[in-house]
């Protein structure tokens, strides 16, 4: 709770505020008190004890939320000892929640948050059912302090990469998932028989079946990675059959079936700069995010490279280049992910009462020429330092002064 104890009253004054929940406000003040947003507007009274930040000419937005990646779950990609996002040996790893794998001391966290990303999904990977994804604030000495929500969804892989454990065929993947869902419901109906051993073997362990029940009761979303148009259709079909709340992820060919996705009311997590054709998705293209948004689908943008989660800004800028209106691109990395991950009551916009994740930018946050001037997470001003910035200072003049 260190962050809360240090929280104070901060007034960011005179900037252009993009609350996201409403139109931008020129010459406005954002007042932060005790880790929350206390006021936003042009006629905000600044308390005498407030720390004033002059933001004239600056842009103020909610902290950005990355709808993908494995923050805290990987330090060095090639070093297995530093990877925590995959549980070995369980094809239906529904009970595997990544939270206790998170390293709050990860060097990736400062590197990312000094670029204005304050919150991120941390998702498990591998297998048919990968496990439970969580949402993290990029500040805190402990896992508990970082957690925004756990779990936010259970991840399943309906793409080419899920096939190996699904039996080598897309058809088998769907069949395996149906078996797991049916067996979870069967397990729920016949817990007593299960405990007495009077039941045929089920498709997954007791813990994994138990973990699937909130999905099957519509209480927890299923985040389905699906890229090929037909795999997206399979995800929609399964969602109809089992009446669960679906989130599509990856969704490279989603633009081809935007109408179906919109009709189902399913949100989509996409990486805008994704256009290399594979046999999983020959139709992948830059216009995906814009096409989906035009169809009325809730679009969340993500950056898959966890080390460069900071490039979420560049992803958003490119989504704009390929047709997504600027305001919608901003929403796709703030309020929409908050809605899709079920935390919009606390996150995603600059509204009174919300958690004070706030960024002050020198200009348009998607532009390379723009720098981050201040970052607040839960009302705490984040020092704009990282291991990378220490390396810069050490080697700014050669030879370095060791």
């Amino acid at each position: 709770m260190i962050a809360y104890l240090l929280a104070q009253t901060i007034a960011i004054t005179g900037g252009t505020v993009y609350p996201v929940s409403g139109p931008k406000i020129e010459h406005a003040t954002v007042l932060i008190r005790d880790g929350r947003i206390a006021a936003v507007g042009t006629d905000v009274a600044v308390p005498a004890d407030a720390t004033r930040i002059d933001a004239a000419g600056k842009w103020i937005t909610p902290g950005f939320i990355d709808g993908g990646g494995q923050m805290g779950l990987v330090e060095i990609g090639a070093v297995g000892a530093t990877r925590e996002a995959r549980m070995d040996g369980d094809t239906i790893a529904a009970a595997f929640n990544v939270a206790e794998g998170v390293n709050p001391a990860s060097q990736l966290i400062p590197v990312t948050r000094v670029e204005g990303i304050t919150t991120t999904l941390a998702a498990p990977g591998g297998h048919l059912v990968s496990g439970q994804a969580i949402l993290l604030d990029l500040d805190g000495a402990t896992i508990e302090q970082m957690l925004v929500k756990s779990p936010v969804g259970i991840v399943v892989d309906l793409s080419e990469s899920g096939k190996d454990e699904g039996g080598g065929s897309r058809a088998a993947v769907a069949q395996h998932l149906r078996s797991a869902f049916r067996d979870a419901l069967e397990y729920e109906r016949r817990r007593v028989d299960f405990n007495r051993g009077q039941i045929e073997p089920l498709a997954a362990s007791e813990a994994d079946l138990e973990a699937l029940l909130p999905v099957l009761h519509g209480q927890l979303p299923l985040i389905a990675i699906a890229n090929r148009r037909s795999d997206i259709a399979t995800a929609l079909r399964l969602a109809r059959e089992f009446k669960f709340h679906l989130i599509l992820a990856g969704a490279q060919e989603a633009w081809e079936v935007a109408g179906d996705i919109a009709a189902a009311g399913v949100p989509v997590l996409v990486e805008p700069l994704d256009n290399i054709p594979s046999y999983d998705a020959l139709g992948v293209r830059y216009e995906n995010a814009a096409t989906l948004a035009r169809a009325g689908i809730k679009v969340v943008l993500l950056e898959n490279d966890t080390h460069n989660s900071r490039n979420l800004r560049q992803q958003a800028g490119n989504a704009v280049s390929y047709g997504l209106p600027w305001d919608q691109a901003l929403r796709a990395i703030t309020l929409t992910p908050a809605e899709v991950f079920g935390v919009a009551d606390r996150y995603g916009s600059l509204e009174v009462g919300k958690v004070a994740n706030v960024v002050v930018w020198s200009g348009d946050p998607f532009e390379f020429s723009t720098g981050v001037e201040h970052v607040y997470i839960r009302g705490r001003e984040i020092p704009l330092t990282s291991r990378q910035r220490e390396l810069l200072e050490r080697y700014r003049h050669l030879p370095p002064a060791y």
Partner: protein, 466 residues
Amino acid sequence: MRPSWFLALPLIGACATAGAKPATQAPVPSAAETTSVQRPQYSSTYRRHPSPPVVIRNATILTATGQEIAGGSILFRDGRIVSVGTTVEAPADAVVVDGTGKYVTPGIIDDHSHLGVYAAPGTDAESDGNEDTNPVTAEVWAEHSFWPQDPQIPLAIAGGITTIQALPGSANLIGGRSAILKLVPARTVQEMKFPGAPYGLKMACGENPKRVYHSRGPSTRMGNMAGYRAAFIQAEGYRQRWDKWDRTHQGDPPQRDLRLESLADVLRGKILVQNHCYRADEMAQMLDLAHEFGFRIRSFHHAVEAYKIADLLAREGTAASVWADWWGFKEEAMDGIHENAALVQAAGGRVVIHSDSPSGIQRLNQEAGKAMQAGNRAGLPVTRDQAVRWITANPAWVLGIDSIVGTLEPGKMADVVVWSTDPFSVYAKALQVYNDGWLVYDRSDPTHQPRTDFELGQVPAPGGDR
């Protein structure tokens, strides 16, 4: 190695005059007259596409020569830049392009690509980049893996790329020869080979080569160094034997060895060393190796720690071909920083922003912009002209073709990109791409958006549905 180039001429002539007549086989000099080493070695068949003269008017022209021209015009014809400036006379038959509000740069050059050798879709069948059967495979040539129908090629063209160096992978200490290619639609790699470009030789330090071989090759960094040295010791002897025989023609010629032939040409300065190397201390080791054998390392590729030895690189005249921000995917990449390029620039070094990625190659302008602005914010000012050079003139130098391409100057090859706005903006898009004067890409005209055979019928056309 010692090709008798004049022999190539009758062959080309035979092809060119064949016309619609029934094909006849061109004569091949009999084995008694020449040996393989004396014949043309996999010649370029690149031909300039016939194109009308083009004048682009009233644009901001970033020439990559230190000059930025507001309200400028550029005229090119027959594949050559004729004039660049504020007042440019154009012939009556010139196509006039309104550049108002637009920016013009030289064609973008990526000195580190695996297009065509790791083609999409990324299957085992199309994985042709690492001949990981031996730690030293200087005998393999990337052009013999290159697939001109790689659907990633049109994507790169749409990003303003006009020339690439297609490299073998980094599994090996010495991975083989690179191919310097004009990025134009073509049936064969020969039709893409940049005329007159020297070959590069891919070498790799660090984690990759020591990881791949273990018991049958190097498993340590000291093993890596011993491997390079052993190879170049052999190459020294080979070079001496051939140079002597070329002088005297006494006795039988030495036995030809493709591996040593490549390395001997490195020692002769004819093949440019392109060295994958991340860590500062390892780059310093490689410079020692180069001194031991008397060759130059043209560029360290990836070089995430170049900023730690920027002074040394500037002194040696070795370029640093870097990403704007990749880091952390392996231990030797842990110290990558945003300001790498700007720090090398500030020390007087030669910076290249490269891609090593079929995705990144589509926006080298953005990556250069990101690295430039990181420098500016850190108090390491980078001019727009310097940043343009990072993706044009400097990679042209790394590939040894800087007298032909890389800047917008009269006489240079007309590789020209028209951008929708400042190319270092996240919102910039290449609107038109001219390669050797040929409009290979026009964002507003589907008839100038090349598609590979692979895409036909299975990859929906840009802007279209299935």
